[in-house]
């Protein structure tokens, strides 16, 4: 596959949650982005903005109350939303794997770590037991865990080791796409750096596409190639990491970046965005960020902003789907000017 073709194309994905009393929460609305092999895409936003929902929607692992209402998820050309559950199971882990946020909870406490890493290999009948054991040792080695630890239980591992074991587990079937749901949240800074380093090394040797869910903008700046900023279940801004960080167009992205302390500039008071993300079953009628926005104008409360292509004009035609991923930059704000994104 050519490196210019996205491995995963998400188009207009919308997900609803229907609660027991019948109220509908629009958890995701019209989410679109691309993930390319060998690159890392960051999904950022506050809690409750739909980052994790996006991820589990893509894996089709939504709980019973969740429904994907529209959209397309093209994985290597196949629409994952239109295939059967049985076919989807073949995609899980073999093509797209996941590093869970809380490694302790994602490991079964009564089975050995090695056993659980081998589980996916055996489940997909990729190799026999003995070969799988060998592969587990190789995977543990890859993430820096001694093979004598293979037959230990999760509670005998330290927090960082568990997270590394989760990465080994995610790589067990050599997936082409890796979701990492806040893989470093529960870890201290040293271990966090180790884990990120590890992810980057693995990506380089295996050519993985990684989708990193996080609210740590520092992590995004460090390892992502492009970033999706989500707010209230919608894409607020999406673009290559350089353009988004250097010239954020959406007020939410701007405030988010301001709220991140700068090492080089002493900050007396940490900037913050007052208020909370909207409740998904009581969304504001216009722009979802309008109630908290410091730059709002009249139209913001009335009309939902469209995604605008704000790619800097450096000679290339400014369309979202032109494959110029190094310069793509779109934002959904009434203040932005430029052509509307169509695709």
């Amino acid at each position: 596959m050519s490196a210019d073709m996205p491995l995963l194309s998400v188009r207009h994905l919308s997900t609803d949650f229907i609660s027991a009393d019948g109220t509908v929460a629009h958890a995701l609305e019209d989410v679109s982005f691309d993930a390319y092999p060998g690159q890392t895409l960051g999904l950022v936003g506050e809690s409750g903005c739909g980052k994790t929902t996006t991820m589990i929607s893509l894996m089709r692992l939504l709980p019973a109350a969740g429904r994907i209402t529209s959209g397309e998820v093209l994985f290597d050309g196949v629409d994952l939303l239109s295939i059967s559950e049985r076919q989807m199971r073949k995609y899980r882990w073999k093509e797209m794997a996941m590093v869970f946020q809380s490694a302790m909870n994602a490991l079964n406490p009564v089975r050995t770590v090695g056993d659980q890493i081998a589980e996916a290999i055996l489940l997909h009948d990729l190799m026999d037991r003995a070969a799988a054991d060998q592969r587990v040792i190789g995977l543990l080695d890859l993430v820096g865990i001694a093979k004598s630890r293979k037959d230990q239980y999760p509670h005998q591992y330290s927090g960082g080791m568990r997270q590394r074991a989760m990465i080994a587990m995610a790589l067990a079937c050599q997936p082409r796409l890796l979701f990492a749901d806040e893989p470093t949240t529960a870890l201290d800074v040293m271990i966090q750096a180790q884990i990120l380093e590890l992810l980057r090394d693995i990506q380089q040797t295996m050519g993985l596409a990684i989708i990193l869910v996080t609210h740590d903008l520092g992590v995004v700046a460090e390892i992502c190639d492009s970033v999706v900023v989500m707010y209230g279940g919608k894409v607020a801004e999406y673009g290559s990491i350089d353009v988004v960080y250097n010239s954020p167009q959406h007020p939410y992205t701007q405030r988010l970046l301001e709220a991140f302390p700068d090492l080089n500039r002493p900050a007396d008071v940490l900037a913050s965005i007052p208020g909370y993300p909207p409740r998904l079953n009581a969304l504001p009628p216009g722009c979802r960020f309008e109630p908290r926005c410091h730059m709002r104008i009249d139209v913001c409360a009335k009309a939902t902003p469209k995604l605008i292509d704000v790619t800097p004009l450096d000679g290339r035609p400014p369309t979202a789907d032109s494959g110029q991923r190094s310069t793509i930059h779109v934002a959904a704000c009434h203040l932005c000017t430029g052509p509307e994104v169509k695709a």
């Binding site: 794997a97 079964n108 009564v110 996916a120 489940l123 004598s148 293979k150 037959d151 005998q156």
Partner: protein, 326 residues
């Protein structure tokens, strides 16, 4: 392969270590094992058969002979050796208890796991069925069932009938217990992970749910065995046992029917009664300890094992403080 074997050996060793430290568990195991050995070795421990009549030097049957007159435990109204009946009765009581208990465990666990895991209408159906069985008083229902089945001349021995009736009626508490446990386990993240690796329902149930409820199942089985033995004794005491294969309950029934108490023949009714208490107590003590041991989270901790950093299994309570935070 050899790695797996050493792991198994280490696990068994750990099991034994924890088990040995627990006094209650030791007592329970000893109680249960003595009865098991006595019942298996019955032919070696008595020269008689349970139906043999003991005769004195003149060839007359010795009825209600006291322990001082005959054997370790005297004879009953028909001159049969009580010690022999006790040994052979243990076989019947234990067989009924174990088989019926195991049956109840299998039925209860299966229904509990299905109801808890799938939820929805399956859960409602299975749990309402369980409610029906829970509401009906056990003993009268069993009396009626056993009596009816025997009247029907199904061709099964009374022992088999007892096993089936107890096994089929005693799964309710297990089903409820297992279901509630499964309800909480299936919401855990490792089940979500199992789904994410592409696992189907049967894989998740076999590899993730059952290993988690296994400790509960084992402990519960041992406890159910004890109530199965008690119930069997009760039913047999009421005359529903097999008179040709007397269990402890049947012995009590004989002792009661043939006025052992008014004859002062304490050796006729006390031994089977105490034997029932003995086994039941053993089961309860063992059941509690097994639950503790089979649950890895309750036994071993963070830094224990060969790769430990500071704590050793025999080190003072430091390690126990760590447990909570692990």
């Amino acid at each position: 392969m050899s790695e797996r074997r050493t792991l198994l050996k280490r696990n068994l060793l750990n099991f034994w270590r924890t088990f040995r430290r627990n006094r209650m568990g030791r007592i329970g195991a000893v109680l249960l094992f003595t009865v098991l050995i006595l019942s298996i070795g019955a032919p070696l421990l008595t020269p008689y058969q349970p139906t043999d009549t003991i005769r004195d030097a003149n060839g007359r049957g010795m009825t209600f002979a006291s322990p001082s007159e005959h054997g370790p435990l005297g004879t009953d109204d028909a001159g049969r050796d009580v010690w022999t009946q006790l040994l052979y009765g243990a076989r019947i009581s234990l067989t009924i208890g174990f088989v019926a208990g195991f049956m109840a465990m299998v039925i209860g666990s299966l229904l509990g796991i299905l109801a808890g895991y799938f939820g929805g209408w399956i859960d409602s159906l299975l749990m309402r069925t369980t409610d029906v069985f829970l509401v009906i008083p056990d003993l009268p229902l069993m009396l009626i069932l056993v009596a009816t089945l025997r009247q029907l001349n199904t061709g099964f021995s009374p022992t088999v009938v007892l096993i089936v009736v107890i096994g089929v009626l005693y799964w309710t508490s297990t089903a409820r217990l297992i279901r509630s446990q499964v309800l909480s386990i299936k919401e855990r993240q490792f089940v979500a992970r199992a789904r994410a690796i592409g696992a189907g329902h049967s894989h998740i149930i076999r590899k993730h749910i059952i290993p988690q409820v296994m400790p509960l199942m084992v402990a519960n089985t041992v406890l159910i065995i004890s109530s199965a033995i008690l119930t069997e004794s009760g039913l047999s005491f009421l005359g529903l046992g097999d008179p040709t294969q007397p269990s402890w309950g049947t012995m009590l029934n004989f002792a009661f029917a043939r006025s052992a108490v008014s004859n002062g023949a304490w050796w006729f009714f006390l031994p089977p009664g105490l034997a029932i208490v003995w086994v039941t107590l053993g089961c309860v003590l063992l059941g509690n300890v097994l639950e503790e041991i089979f649950n890895p989270r309750l036994t071993s901790h963070h830094l224990e094992g060969e790769q430990h950093m500071i704590a050793r299994p025999d080190s003072p309570p430091l390690a126990e403080g760590i447990e909570g935070g692990a």
